[in-house]
Amino acid sequence: MSSQQMAQAEPKPAEAGQFEPRILVFCCNWCSYAGADLAGVSRLQMPTNFRVIRTMCSARVDPEFVLRAFASGADGVLVLGCHPADCHYIGGNYRTRRRIALLRVLLEQYGFNPDRLKLEWVSASEGQKFQKTIKEFDAMIRDIGVNPINEE
C-alpha cells in the first residue's frame, strides 16, 4: 500500500538553534483522527513537532485544555473535528466552533496571537487535508514565533 501513493516532499530538517514549535493537536475519534490515520496509511510526510490527543468528539475539548496547553508552553494548538453536518454526535462540532471562536477572543485579551489556536475540519477521507493543515499551521507558528510564556 505504501507504494500506492507517492510520499510527499519531506520537510526540511531544522537547523540547530532554530525555533522548533511545539504543537498540540486535538482530534475527534471519528473524522479527524481517522484522517490523520489515513495520512499515515498514505505515507504523507509532515513536520514531526505535533502531538495528537484523541477525544471522542471535538466538543470534549474544554477551553481549559487549550489554556493549559499554552500555559505549559505549547506554541500552537489545533482542534480538528468533523465537518459541519458530519459530526458523529450530530452537533458536537457546532458547540466546538462557538467555544473556539470565543476562546480566540479571550486569548487575544491575554496578549496571545489568537492564530496560535486554530479550529479546522478534517474528515476521515482527508489525509491530504490533515497533512496540509499540519504543514500550514507549523509554518504559521514558526512565523508567529515562540510562545511568550516560554520566554519568561
Binding site: 500500500m1 507504494s3 500506492q4 510520499a7 519531506e10 530538517p13 511545539r22 498540540l24 471519528w30 473524522c31 483522527y33 481517522a34 490523520a36 490515520d37 489515513l38 499515515g40 496509511v41 498514505s42 505515507r43 504523507l44 510526510q45 509532515m46 514531526t48 513537532n49 502531538r51 490527543i53 484523541r54 477525544t55 471522542m56 468528539c57 466538543a59 470534549r60 474544554d62 481549559e64 485544555f65 493549559r68 496547553a69 500555559a71 505549559s72 508552553g73 505549547a74 453536518a85 458530519d86 458523529h88 454526535y89 450530530i90 452537533g91 458536537g92 458547540r95 474528515s123 476521515a124 477521507s125 482527508e126 489525509g127 491530504q128 487535508k129 497533512q131 510564556i149 516560554n150 519568561e152
Partner: protein, 1012 residues
C-alpha cells in the same frame, strides 16, 4: 439436519449486506456475510461524498464496516461465493466456494511490506483503473478486513513460479501459495441477497467516445477524481494533461432510459449524484463551470428538491434541459470536447468543454444470472431480482429475500431501509432460535484494582519494519522503562499477532499489571482487540491505552528517524501518563420490555406491527381514528393485479386476527417517559388513559393529502383529485372524453417546495388505466418534470405509447383554469413549443401533493424527536439511518418520514420493525463504558448541559429537597461524546474514559519540560 437454525446467510458485503447483517446480529442471529471480493464495502466505499448532505462517504460507512467485522455474531466470509442453496425456508443448506486468498488471514497484520516489494502492477478496481495496485493488495486503504490477497492471475509466482518476493519479505509468514479452493456447507434458516449493482459500461455508447477520448470519464471515475484518497488527491484535473478544467459537462441518462442499450428504466440516482458532483467539483475548484445536460431532473427524495435549487441558485450550476446529448467529439490536439445536442424543436447546437462526465446508470450485477440459476430465484425483464409492489423484499423463492440495488436501482437511504427490512423478513424464519450474547462471549471474572498503585505494562510494536524501519524501538522500550509506574516494557515484532495476545496475558499475571499500554498503530482498528485480550486476563477492558506510533508517527516521518523516535517516546509517555489515571469502568445492564408500540394504523404501521408479531413480540397499535388502513383505503387502481385498497383489507384482517397485536382505536399518545428498552407510554383511549410499558416505539403516523384551494376545486364537480379519479375509474363513474391532469398541485411551490415523489407515477398509472378502459378519451398530463424513477419509467413509456400527451410548464408558470360557459379552458405555457396551449377538457384531475400531519409537532415533542423544516419527521441520519431517530429506541416508517410508494413504505416499515427488534429481542441492553457521569456533590441542575445533549440523555430533576435540582444522565441514551462535560460550568460532569484529569495528564506529558 432437521433442526431449525438461528443462522442467516447474507450474500454481498456492500452497505445493504452490512446493514442487514448488523440488524440480524443485533437481534440475536448468527450471520454468515459472504462477499466475492477480498474486502467488504461495495460501491459506497468508492464514493467521495453522498447527497443531499454531502457527508463524507467513507466517514459514515467505515464505522459500520468495522462494526460488522468485529461483531461476534457475524462471520465474514470474503473471496467466497454461493454455489447452491438447497432445502427450504427455515432449513437451507448452502454450498459455499471459498477462493484462495494465498494469504493466511490469521497471520496477516496488514503491514503492506509484501505489496511494497511486489513487482507486478495491476490496474486498481477501486480507482476504476485510474491508478495501479500490486498483484498482492488490499482493495483500498481502509479495507475491511485489512488482510492482503494475491491476485492469482497477475502473481508471478502463481503464474510462472518466479519472484516469491512477498513470501520472502512477509515478517508474519502469512503467504501461502498452496492455498486451494475450499467447498463448505452451511446450515441457515433464511437468505438475504444484497449483491448490489454494476455501473453501465460506457463504451457501449460509442457516440460519447468513452475509452477513446481521455477527457470523457464516467461518474464513478469522477467520484474518485473528487475524492481526497483518489488518483489526484481530490484535485479536479482532467486525465489527458492533469490540468484543471474550467468547463465540465455532465451528460445524464448514459445507459438509462435508453431502449437502444436495453435499459429502458431510470437509474433513480444519477440526477442527484450529478448535482452533487457538480457542487463538490465547484467547491474544490474556484471558477469551475459545470453544466448538466438532462431530460428530467428527478429530485424526488427527502430534501432533494432543496439541494437541486441550491445547486442552481447558489452554486450557479447550469442546467440544460433537452433531449439526450447526440454526440461528443474530441479536438485531437487540445483534447477538448465538443458536445452536440438539440436545442428547441429541430435545431442542433454544440458547445465546447474541457471535461465530460458521463452519468452512467445502474445495471443488475454481473452475478445476477448466476445467482438466479444457483438459487432458483426469478429475475425481472431488466435482469434485476424480481419483486412485487406488495412484496418488495421477497424473491420468488420462499425464505430468500433481497435488499438494495439488486431489486431495482436506488439510493443509499432506500437501500438501508430495505436492508433492515430484509433482516426483519429473514428473522421471521429463525426467531425461535435466537442466541444470547452471553452464550457467544464468555465473561472472565475481573480483578479488583481499586486503590492499587498503578502497575503499567507497555508493549511496543515493531510492526515488522513499519515502525522499526523509522523508529528506534529498543530505545523507546528502554525509555518507557524509566517512566514512573511502568513495571514492565517489551518490544514485539507484531503486538497484534495471536501469540503476542497470549504473551500479554501471561505478562499481566506475571507482573501483576493493572494497566496496559500498547504503542503500535491506531486505536480505531486495534483498541478492541487489545481490550478483549486484557479482559481475558481478568483486567477491566478500560484499563488500556494506546499510543499510535505507526500511522501518526513512523509513517508520516519516514525520513527523520531521530525525530520520529523522540516523538514516539513522547507519544508513549502521554499514553502512560493517561493510563495512570485510568479507572475500571463498568457497563451496566438494563432490562428490556419485550414489546413495542406502533403509532399509526396505516400501511406502514400495520406492516411494522405484523412483522414484529410474526417474531412473537407483543405490539400495541395506537390509531387516532376509528379506521385502519390510512390512505390506502382511497387507492383503487390495481397494481400488479391487486388494488391497494384490497391489499390493505387483507393486512387489516391479519392484524385483527393476530393475538400478538392489541389494537387501540380512537386513541392517542398522551405522554412518553423512560428510555430505550423501558418506555412508559400513556395512551388516551375512549375507555380512559392506559399506561403501557414498552421497549421501542415506531412512528408511522403517515401524512395528509393536500386539499387544493386552487383550480376551482370544491366549486366544480368536474375538478377532482387523483384519488377521486381512482374512485371514479374503479366504480364505473368515469365517462370523460378529454382529461387534463395537472401535476405538482401543492408540491414544488412556495408553500411546499418539496417534491411529493409519487404523483407523477400515479398520474401515469391512472392515465394508462383511462386509456385501457376508454381508448378514445384524450389524456393530457401537464407537468414540471416527469419523475417516474426506477422501473416506473416503463409507465411513462407505456403512457406515451397509448397516446397520453405530455405538456411541460416551467416553475412559476402554473396552468390557468377558466370556464367559458359550461366548458373548461386550460391555458398552459408549453416550454417545448414555446407558446401557450389552450385545452378544453371535460375533466380536470389534480395531482395533489403530500403534506405532513399538522400535529406532528405535538407528537415530536412527546417523543423528543425532531421534525425537518418541511414538517416531516427527521431521522437520525439522512443517509445511513433512515429508520432511526437520534433518540434511541424510537423508529420511523412510511410517509411520516417522507412521501413514498407502497413498496417503499412496506420495506421501510419492515426496516423499522427490524430496528425495533434489535432492541426488544435483547434480554438486556448494555450501556457504553465511556459515558458522562454527574458528581451530585457539585451539581445544582443549572441546566447548561440539558440542551447541549443531542441525544436528550440529560434531564434536570428535583433532588427531593424543595427547590434543589440536579442533572441526571440516562445511561441508556448517553453516547459518550463529552459535549456536555466541556459545557458544564461547575465541573460536576465528567466523561468516563476521557476524564479531565486524564486529558490534562496527556497535555502535560506532551509538553513536559515546557514552561510552568
Amino acid at each position: 439436519m432437521s433442526e431449525k437454525t438461528g443462522s442467516v446467510l447474507v450474500v454481498g458485503g456492500g452497505i445493504a449486506g452490512v446493514q442487514t447483517s448488523l440488524d440480524l446480529a443485533e437481534s440475536g442471529f448468527k450471520v454468515y456475510l459472504v462477499e466475492r471480493k477480498p474486502s467488504i464495502g461495495g460501491v459506497m466505499a468508492q464514493l467521495d461524498k453522498t447527497f443531499p448532505t454531502n457527508d463524507c462517504s467513507m466517514c459514515i460507512l467505515s464505522p459500520k464496516l468495522v462494526e460488522a467485522a468485529r461483531h461476534p455474531m457475524i462471520s465474514m466470509l470474503t473471496l467466497s461465493e454461493v454455489m447452491a442453496v438447497e432445502g427450504e425456508a427455515g432449513n437451507f443448506t448452502v454450498t459455499l466456494k471459498k477462493h484462495p486468498r494465498y494469504v493466511r488471514e490469521d497471520r496477516c497484520v496488514g503491514c503492506g511490506l509484501c505489496a511494497e516489494k511486489c513487482p507486478s502492477k495491476v490496474s486498481s478496481e477501486y480507482e476504476v483503473g485510474m491508478s495501479q495496485r500490486k498483484a498482492i493488495y488490499v482493495p483500498y486503504a481502509q479495507a475491511v478486513p485489512m488482510k492482503y490477497a494475491i491476485d492469482a492471475d497477475r502473481c508471478l509466482w502463481l503464474t510462472k513460479q518466479r519472484c516469491g518476493n512477498c513470501k520472502k519479505v512477509c515478517p508474519a509468514d502469512a503467504i501461502d501459495y498452496e492455498q486451494k479452493e475450499v467447498i463448505e456447507k452451511l446450515n441457515v434458516g433464511a437468505v438475504v441477497l444484497t449483491p448490489g449493482f454494476q455501473v453501465f459500461d460506457a463504451t457501449r455508447k460509442r457516440e460519447y467516445g468513452y475509452g477513446d477520448f481521455k477527457n470523457v470519464v464516467t461518474s464513478l471515475e469522477f467520484e474518485r477524481i473528487l475524492s481526497a484518497t483518489g488518483p489526484y488527491q481530490g484535485h479536479v484535473v482532467r486525465p489527458s494533461d492533469h490540468k484543471t478544467p474550467k468547463k465540465v459537462a455532465f451528460i445524464q441518462c448514459v445507459g438509462s432510459r435508453d431502449e437502444k442499450v436495453g435499459n429502458p428504466y431510470c437509474s433513480s440516482v444519477c440526477c442527484m449524484y450529478a448535482l452533487k458532483q457538480a457542487i463538490i467539483a465547484q467547491e474544490h475548484t474556484h471558477g469551475l463551470e459545470p453544466t448538466i445536460f438532462f431530460m428530467d431532473i428527478r429530485a424526488f427524495g427527502k430534501e432533494f428538491e432543496d439541494y437541486r435549487a441550491r445547486a442552481e441558485n447558489e452554486y450557479g450550476i447550469k442546467m440544460y434541459r433537452g433531449s439526450r446529448v447526440a454526440s461528443v467529439d474530441e479536438n485531437p490536439e487540445s483534447k477538448d470536447l465538443t458536445l452536440r445536442f438539440s436545442s428547441g424543436a429541430s435545431e442542433v447546437s454544440s458547445a465546447d468543454f474541457d471535461l465530460v462526465v458521463l452519468s452512467v446508470g445502474l445495471e443488475a450485477p454481473a452475478s445476477a444470472k448466476e445467482l438466479s440459476d444457483r438459487l432458483g430465484i426469478k429475475l425481472n425483464e431488466f435482469g434485476f431480482c424480481h419483486t412485487g409492489v406488495y412484496t418488495p423484499l421477497e424473491t420468488s423463492r420462499k425464505g430468500i429475500y433481497v435488499s438494495g440495488a439488486f431489486s431495482s436501482p436506488k439510493d443509499i437511504p432506500t437501500t438501508v431501509a430495505e436492508a433492515s427490512g430484509a433482516a426483519s423478513k429473514a428473522g421471521a424464519h429463525v426467531f425461535m432460535n435466537r442466541i444470547s450474547i452471553d452464550d457467544v462471549i464468555k465473561d472472565v471474572p475481573e480483578d479488583d484494582v481499586k486503590g492499587q498503585e498503578p502497575r503499567i505494562g507497555a508493549f511496543i510494536c515493531d510492526c515488522g519494519i513499519n515502525i522499526k524501519g523509522t523508529v528506534d524501538v529498543p530505545s523507546v522500550v528502554e525509555y518507557v522503562k524509566t517512566l514512573p509506574n511502568v513495571v514492565y516494557a517489551e518490544e514485539n515484532k507484531y503486538t497484534c499477532s495471536a501469540d503476542t495476545q497470549e504473551l500479554i496475558k501471561k505478562k499481566i499475571k506475571e507482573h501483576k499489571l493493572n494497566r496496559v499500554v500498547v504503542a503500535s498503530c491506531t486505536p480505531r482498528t486495534h483498541e478492541a482487540l487489545f481490550q478483549s485480550t486484557i479482559k481475558e486476563a481478568g483486567l477491566n477492558m478500560f484499563l488500556f491505552e494506546m499510543a499510535n506510533i505507526r500511522d501518526q508517527c513512523s509513517w508520516i516521518h519516514m525520513n527523520e528517524p531521530e525525530k520520529a523516535t523522540a516523538k514516539a517516546k513522547d507519544l508513549v509517555r502521554m499514553a502512560v501518563a493517561k493510563s495512570r489515571f485510568l479507572e475500571p469502568l463498568s457497563k451496566s445492564r438494563l432490562g428490556v420490555t419485550p414489546s413495542a408500540i406502533v403509532v399509526g394504523g396505516g400501511l406502514a404501521g400495520l406492516t411494522a406491527a405484523l412483522d414484529m408479531a410474526q417474531q412473537d413480540f407483543h405490539v400495541d397499535l395506537v390509531e387516532r381514528t376509528g379506521e385502519l388502513g390510512g390512505r390506502l383505503n382511497k387507492l383503487f387502481t390495481p397494481e400488479e393485479g391487486k388494488s391497494p385498497k384490497d391489499y390493505i383489507k387483507g393486512l387489516i384482517a391479519q392484524v385483527k386476527a393476530s393475538d400478538k397485536i392489541t389494537l387501540m382505536m380512537n386513541s392517542e399518545i398522551e405522554d412518553v417517559a423512560g428510555f430505550v428498552g423501558n418506555y412508559k407510554v400513556k395512551v388516551k383511549t375512549p375507555e380512559g388513559t392506559k399506561e403501557l410499558d414498552t421497549g421501542a416505539i415506531v412512528v408511522a403516523v403517515g401524512s395528509e393529502e393536500y386539499v387544493p384551494k386552487e383550480y376551482m376545486y370544491g366549486q366544480d364537480k368536474n375538478v377532482v383529485t387523483m384519488n377521486e379519479l381512482e374512485d371514479k375509474l374503479a366504480h364505473g363513474h368515469f365517462s370523460s372524453k378529454k382529461v387534463v391532469m395537472v401535476q405538482c398541485v401543492g408540491s414544488r411551490n412556495k408553500e411546499a417546495p418539496y417534491c411529493s415523489r409519487v404523483c407523477c407515477s400515479k398520474a401515469l398509472k391512472n392515465a394508462i388505466e383511462i386509456k385501457k378502459k376508454h381508448p378514445e378519451t384524450e389524456v393530457y398530463i401537464l407537468h414540471k418534470d416527469i419523475r417516474s424513477y426506477g422501473f416506473r419509467e416503463a409507465l411513462y413509456r407505456q403512457a406515451g405509447e397509448l397516446g397520453v400527451k405530455f405538456v411541460r410548464f416551467d416553475e412559476g408558470k402554473d396552468p390557468v383554469l377558466g370556464k367559458v360557459g359550461e366548458h373548461f379552458e386550460v391555458i398552459v405555457e408549453d416550454t417545448v413549443l414555446g407558446s401557450p396551449l389552450l385545452l378544453r377538457p371535460d375533466l380536470v384531475v389534480l395531482s395533489t401533493g403530500t403534506r405532513p400531519n399538522p400535529d406532528n409537532e405535538h407528537l415530536a415533542k412527546l417523543l423528543k424527536v425532531p421534525l425537518s423544516k418541511d414538517g416531516f419527521f427527521l431521522e437520525a441520519h439522512m443517509k445511513l439511518r433512515p429508520n432511526d431517530f437520534a433518540t434511541n429506541g424510537v423508529f420511523l416508517a412510511g410517509i411520516a418520514h417522507w412521501p413514498k410508494f407502497i413498496d417503499e413504505t412496506i420495506a421501510q416499515a419492515s426496516g423499522a420493525a427490524a430496528r425495533a427488534m434489535t432492541i426488544i429481542s435483547k434480554e438486556f441492553l448494555e450501556t457504553q463504558g465511556i459515558i458522562a457521569a454527574v458528581n451530585d456533590d457539585v451539581c445544582d441542575g443549572c441546566g447548561v448541559c440539558e440542551p447541549v445533549c443531542e441525544y436528550r440523555a440529560i434531564t434536570i430533576v428535583g433532588t427531593g429537597v424543595p427547590d434543589k435540582l440536579k442533572a441526571v444522565i440516562n445511561e441508556g441514551l448517553c453516547m459518550g461524546c463529552g459535549t456536555c462535560v466541556a459545557a458544564c460550568p461547575s465541573g460536576a460532569l465528567e466523561q468516563k474514559g476521557f476524564k479531565t484529569s486524564q486529558i490534562l495528564a496527556q497535555i502535560d506529558a506532551a509538553l513536559e519540560g515546557g514552561a510552568k
